[in-house]
């Protein structure tokens, strides 16, 4: 059963068509990749699914329900987490606090209980911090929990974004080019980490340019080019399909 689905999704900015007529489905518990040359509309697709842009046509469905009307934070609450192509961390906050914001919609303490530090609020804070430590350990960030997010290395910042998304206890995780800019050592760990996330029962939708990562871990691949979906299938089907090769390498001149 497809957990996340889009039907005829499309958007144009004052006439410039960024995305058109895209049907997409991400199976629950599977890794689905979205690939395509630069400017194909991949990140726009993510922003539409995450609720930052409102589509000019089509709809987005999650667990069978139409969520096109929901705002970004409401979609996060129901379990759609995302990372950003270029890092969007809370630079001046500590690594721990960055991750704690992920748990925001899962906690209950309100303004008054926070101000008065009621026992319930303090217990909840302790529980949140323990949970975040487990995520940080998973991504190898535990020892720099008190460091400022802005002062981390590029690779660690990428990992922190994933931790933050995980802290949302999401049902589906949209990863926007997690491999870009990583050194070889982080790259090897990345594939393992993504599959590990899937094994925790979190559906993953992955935008990535590094074909070896995509081909090795994806269960299905959708290919976008110039705002339209041109192919959808298993890695083997997509690797051999003519349209995909043309999209990337251009047509042979007849």
């Amino acid at each position: 059963m497809a957990l996340l689905e889009t039907k005829k999704l499309g958007i144009n900015f004052d006439g410039l068509v960024a995305l058109e007529d895209v049907d997409f489905a991400a199976e629950e518990g599977k890794i689905t990749a979205v690939i395509g040359p630069n400017g194909a509309g991949k990140t726009t697709f993510f922003n539409l699914v995450a609720g930052f842009y409102t589509p000019t046509e089509g709809s987005v469905h999650f667990g069978g329900k139409d969520i096109t009307r929901l705002k970004a934070y409401q979609r996060a609450e129901i379990g759609i987490a995302r990372t950003f192509q270029n890092i969007n961390l809370f630079k001046d906050m500590s690594v721990m606090d960055n991750a704690l914001v992920g748990l925001h919609s899962r906690a209950k303490s309100n303004v008054v209980s926070s101000m008065l530090r009621t026992p319930a609020q303090r217990r909840e804070e302790k529980a949140l911090r323990e949970e975040v430590m487990s995520y940080l350990e998973f991504m190898g960030l535990a020892d720099c929990a008190q460091e400022k997010a802005g002062s981390l290395s590029y690779g660690m910042q990428k990992n922190l974004e994933i931790v933050r998304a995980l802290a949302l206890r999401p049902k589906v995780l949209l990863l926007d080019e997690p491999a870009s800019g990583l050194n070889t050592q982080d790259l090897d760990e990345l594939s393992g980490r993504i599959t590990n996330i899937r094994d925790r029962g979190i559906t993953v939708v992955l935008i990535e340019h590094k074909m070896d990562v995509v081909m090795s871990i994806s269960d299905r691949i959708a290919v976008l080019n110039v705002g339209r979906k041109i192919a959808d299938g298993t890695p083997e089907e997509v690797r051999s399909s003519r349209e995909v090769i043309e999209a990337y390498l251009g047509k042979e001149d007849e």
Binding site: F13, D14, T43, F84
Partner: protein, 291 residues
């Protein structure tokens, strides 16, 4: 008929606000901060013209350019002391620095010129002439005309000349401009000095119309940045439109509303415009926020 007269008054008042607003827009575009000391630069323009013309007896047409030069020099000093060291501080800090500068400059003017009011012989004559029912004062008409002329000149300068283009490029993106080989330091300072010149001209045009003392910078300064923001802070002609809207709103306020709230009307108009139609009047391009 009285409405028409009020509109004329509103137009001339508005064009003065627009003139002051020009300086705010230029500096905002280049430095990304509202320079609260711009009102004081106008005051310096007015006072230096007063000293050159009244005390030293220079003829008005000679005193004006010199007064503009004096203001540009003061502008350079302000930029050097308080803007340059804070170039990459965050917006709030830089705003507070401009406020510190405005308090400082205003009180220096008070120490030099004391608290008395000064009047200024009008440059363009102030004997009103009658056109049908309407009473027009030449000085005000000249102010409106010069206001629009300056806007046109400024647009021309920014769009056509090489220096103008480099200033706009720096305003858009300092790093990109540096990569293009533009001397960012020079164009930033250049923008500031030109804005000071515009402020001086505004000050000199205001002096003959009203009595002014050391505090004139504060009074017209607040109206100046209200007009600048009303006009969208994005383009020079916006500053003039913002000024005219403000001026006319204030004049009509007295006709329709009560005069006690006259000065509040300017702010009520500003508040409503900002709340109700932020995208139309403001910059067009920020329609959809890039994620």
């Amino acid at each position: 008929m009285q409405i028409l007269q009020q509109l004329i008054q509103g137009l001339s008042l508005g064009s003065i606000y627009g003139l002051v607003a020009l300086g705010y827009v230029l500096i905002y575009q280049a430095w990304g901060v509202l320079n609260f000391a711009q009102g004081e630069v106008c005051a310096i323009g007015a006072f230096s013209l007063l000293v050159l013309h009244a005390e030293l007896g220079m003829p008005v047409y000679a005193a004006m350019p010199v007064a503009v030069l004096v203001s540009m020099l003061v502008g350079y000093v302000i930029e050097f002391l308080s803007f340059r060291p804070l170039e990459n501080a965050n917006g709030t800090t830089r705003l507070i620095a401009t406020i510190g500068v405005s308090i400082c400059v205003r009180n220096i003017l008070r120490m030099i010129f004391g608290a008395d009011y000064f009047s200024f012989p009008t440059i363009f004559g102030d004997t009103p002439f009658q056109v049908g029912e309407l009473i027009l004062v030449p000085q005000n008409l000249w102010n409106t005309a010069i206001g629009f002329a300056l806007v046109a000149l400024l647009n021309l300068f920014l769009k056509k000349t090489r220096i103008g283009k480099s200033m706009r490029a720096t305003a858009q993106d300092k790093e990109a401009a540096r990569l293009m080989g533009i001397n960012v330091r020079a164009s930033l300072t250049g923008t500031f000095v030109i804005a000071s010149a515009l402020g001086a001209i505004a000050g000199m045009l205001i002096a003959p119309v009203y009595l002014f003392n050391f505090n004139i910078g504060a009074t017209i300064g607040t109206k100046g940045y209200a007009a600048a923001v009303l006009g969208g802070l994005d383009f020079a002609s916006g500053a003039m439109t913002g000024g005219i809207i403000l001026g006319i709103a204030e004049c009509l306020a007295v006709v329709f509303g009560s005069s006690e709230y006259q000065s509040a009307i300017a702010y009520i108009v500003l508040f409503l415009v900002l709340i109700l139609k932020p995208s139309e009047i403001m910059s067009k391009k920020k329609k959809v926020e890039k994620v």
